[in-house]
């Protein structure tokens, strides 16, 4: 019998990856290619959407030839993507009308400040469960309309299409200017600030508020459903799933039951908890988001706590301070001392995300004495990730009736043993790492394979999940509380550093 595979396309912030999974959910091959990051001004981050499309055109055949299979053996395609990044392209030529504005870009900071004053957070929270932030797509669309001549009119005339990256890729895969499908999935749409979180449709009041014409918007579809067949690159193969990357990781970690949570530790970290079909409105600084929607089944929701700086603090320690030569060495350096020596680092490099949402915060190192060595600083760097996770977990537990019982982790930082033990210690929860580390890709593959009948149901996927490592809490409760108090005091000291206007 001919072996069949599911193809997962993970379009991330720094690279695009194409991964094949076999029927047992095992990774068979990886092809990947990085794309350029453009920083035209401080705080601006852009991608070239055409470059991303070309990269995909290269890695798809690479993945196939690496395993020596043909297109017919691919049963379905699933897409996971960097979220919130905004792509605009010409409906007739298929060319992007400007560079894609990436989720990290903070050019809309002033606009966002204005929105929070008027009409205020409540207007947005009621409709899309997001408070205004530079993080989301809609303020970027408004910014583009205000800064690119004629763009708003072209959008009204239906000449320009909007989408997040999965929309762009699906449109191109299914024919592009020649009848390509212009669709998005509910998880990605839930990050635009334009979708009504309850009805999963574009919200007329939000569209009107941001001045976004509906002619330019993709159709919102379930995350898991047969969308259509690819025409280019993988002719005839059905595209059956699309999910934002963090939702894909939740799916890949098989967090299908309410209360199950995962945290992906990368440049930033994203803790997401399944809240089932209940829409939980956060009162403690979390985002309510769509976890996934399978065809016509009820929508599954999630609470999410994004943390802006975790792995990137280690990179800063390596590249800017030069105290280590590779990221894993942070653990070696941290192990040269017993504890943090009273030193704490709050990495509010561009403000703090969940649960604080303070754009006026900046990073601080507190507790410096002549006793502190680079070893203590290394500890403080790792502990910052632990405490930031603790703050988000506390917010989750306060918002939801579902107390977390364990935390499933993935991402590059899970190879740091000291950090994983510290996490278990400060959360007072078991921390569990799964056998397949590529949870984003795996989630997209699971979702696509489920829709294509490659796997029958969620239970089968759950049985594919295996524990590769587990860290158990082992910290004196009094010490945990003391340290947490110290951390909170450190956070207080980072707040309000940025004042409304500096010297001219």
């Amino acid at each position: 019998m001919v072996e069949r595979y599911v193809m997962s396309i993970d379009q991330g912030t720094t690279s695009t990856r194409c991964i094949l999974f076999d029927h047992r959910g095992r990774l068979v091959t990886v092809a990947q290619r990085e794309h350029r990051q453009f920083f035209p001004q401080p705080g601006w981050v852009e991608h070239d959407a055409s470059e991303i499309r070309r990269n995909l055109e290269r890695i798809v055949p690479e993945a196939l030839s690496d395993v020596g299979i043909d297109v017919g053996q691919i049963i379905a395609i699933g897409i996971a993507n960097q979220r919130e990044t905004t792509v605009l392209w010409d409906r007739r030529t298929g060319a992007p009308v400007c560079r894609a504005i990436v989720w990290q870009d903070v050019r809309t900071a002033q606009l966002v400040e204005d929105l929070r004053r008027s009409p205020g957070d409540a207007f947005f929270l009621d409709r899309c469960c997001l408070r205004p932030s530079t993080y989301f797509s809609a303020p970027r669309l408004r910014w583009l309309f205000d800064h690119v001549d004629g763009l708003e009119q072209r959008a009204r005339d239906g000449e320009v299409l909007f989408g997040t990256v999965e929309s762009w890729l699906i449109w191109n895969l299914t024919g592009g200017a020649d009848g390509g499908l212009h669709i998005t999935d509910a998880t990605n749409a839930s990050r635009t600030m334009l979708m009504n979180i309850r009805t999963l449709t574009w919200d007329p009041e939000l569209l009107e508020f941001f001045g976004v014409p509906s002619a330019m918007l993709p159709e919102i579809r379930p995350s898991i459903e047969a969308y259509g067949q690819a025409r280019s690159m993988l002719p005839g193969v059905p595209i059956t799933a699309a999910l934002g990357d963090q939702q894909a990781a939740l799916f890949g970690q098989t967090c299908f039951s309410p209360g199950e949570a995962k945290c992906t530790y990368g440049t930033g970290s994203f803790l997401v908890m399944n809240t089932g079909t209940d829409l939980v409105r956060s009162r403690h600084g979390l985002l309510t988001t769509v976890a996934y929607k399978i065809a016509d089944q009820p929508t599954v929701y999630a609470l999410e706590g994004p943390i802006a700086v975790t792995g990137s603090l280690v990179q800063w320690f390596r590249d800017r301070l030069g105290l280590i030569s590779s990221a894993p060495e942070i653990e070696t350096l941290a192990l040269t001392v017993e504890d943090n020596g009273g030193c704490y680092i709050v990495p509010a490099f561009s403000g703090l995300f969940a649960p604080h949402w303070r754009s006026d915060a900046r990073g601080v190192i507190v507790g410096l004495t002549s006793y502190i060595t680079k070893g203590h600083l290394a500890r403080a760097v790792l502990e910052a990730t632990g405490w930031q996770t603790r703050e988000v977990v506390d917010a989750m537990n306060a918002d939801s009736a579902l107390a977390m019982k364990e935390l499933k982790v993935d991402g590059g930082m899970t190879s740091d043993n000291l950090l994983m033990q510290f996490l278990a210690d400060v959360l007072d929860l078991p921390v569990v790492r799964p056998l397949v580390a590529e949870t984003v890709s795996l989630g997209a593959a699971y979702a696509a394979g489920l829709a294509a009948g490659f796997w029958p149901d969620l239970e089968v996927l759950r049985r594919n999940w295996h524990r590769a490592a587990q860290w158990m809490p082992d910290m004196d409760p009094e010490r945990r509380e003391w340290e947490y108090e110290c951390w909170k005091r450190a956070v207080e000291r980072s707040l309000g550093w940025i004042r409304p206007s500096g010297p001219a």
Partner: protein
């Protein structure tokens, strides 16, 4: 015995030249200082750069001594770096073999477990990263001994402790076993550390083929070995693939 190898003499001269001052040197300066053709000097510099003895400044293209020279003599590879670079391959090995996987490096006459992947059956298991194992009684240790990552003599001098009746306690037996490990390219332990337990391990090589650690699979003897008490060939194949993949990632060219 053959005479001195000219290219190594020239490489040594280049390193001395770069060590001689605080300033980075351009290709032309290196070549003219030593009376070498530019092409020759460039070839040697490229090779030295490949083994990290020399670094080239991206902006100016000039050369200086590389960080690897500082760690010469300690065959330095950060154990946490080793774990980070091995993690995907170790996971894949556990998934395919269905058994627990460990990585070991030498530490003060023992094997330090630097990474551990649970047997993927979701039974209760405890992470034993940081545990020290006896070199002569486990497959990880035998591999480290066989490929020179740790000297044998001090171990034998101190006396080989007996863990089970299968433990190799006589130095002749250990020596013979190590010769076999070198010939096969992998090592086994069958009920030598604990009755009912067995394991196989293969070397992980870094730059130039130097053995920096070992990766092993272990479990109940009836699953690791066939009915004759010999390790399952299919398991050895998976193990050696993983070891080779990690070695390639670490910069070993031919393994």
């Amino acid at each position: 015995m053959a005479g001195p190898v000219q290219s190594i003499e020239r490489a040594a001269a280049i390193l001395r030249l770069l060590a001689g001052g605080p300033r980075r040197l351009g290709l032309g300066e290196v070549a003219s200082s030593l009376g070498l053709a530019k092409g020759t000097a460039h070839g040697i510099l490229r090779t030295l750069q490949h083994v990290d003895f020399v670094e080239q400044d991206e902006a100016t293209g000039k050369y200086q001594l590389g960080a690897a020279l500082l760690h010469l003599g300690t065959s330095y590879l950060d154990v946490n770096e080793l774990r980070s670079r091995s993690i995907n391959w170790a996971d894949a090995l556990a998934a395919r073999s269905g058994e627990a996987v460990r990585l070991g490096t030498p530490l003060e006459g023992k094997v330090l477990v630097v990474h551990h992947v649970f047997r993927p059956d979701d039974t209760l298991q405890t992470l034993d990263v940081g545990t020290l194992l006896p070199l002569h009684a486990c497959s990880l240790g035998k591999v480290l001994l066989a490929f020179g990552a740790e000297p044998v003599e001090p171990l034998v001098d101190a006396g080989l402790e007996e863990y089970t009746r299968h433990t190799l306690v006589r130095s002749e037996d250990l020596s013979r076993a190590l010769v076999e490990v070198r010939e096969l390219g992998w090592g086994a332990e069958v009920q030598e550390m604990a009755m009912g337990e067995a394991g196989v391990a293969a070397p992980i090589r870094g730059h130039g083929g130097l053995v920096v650690g070992a990766i092993g699979v272990s479990g109940p003897v009836e699953r690791i070995c066939d009915t004759k008490g010999r390790p399952q060939p299919a398991l050895i194949t998976l193990l050696r693939e993983a070891a080779r993949a990690i070695s390639r990632d670490l910069g070993a060219a031919r393994w």
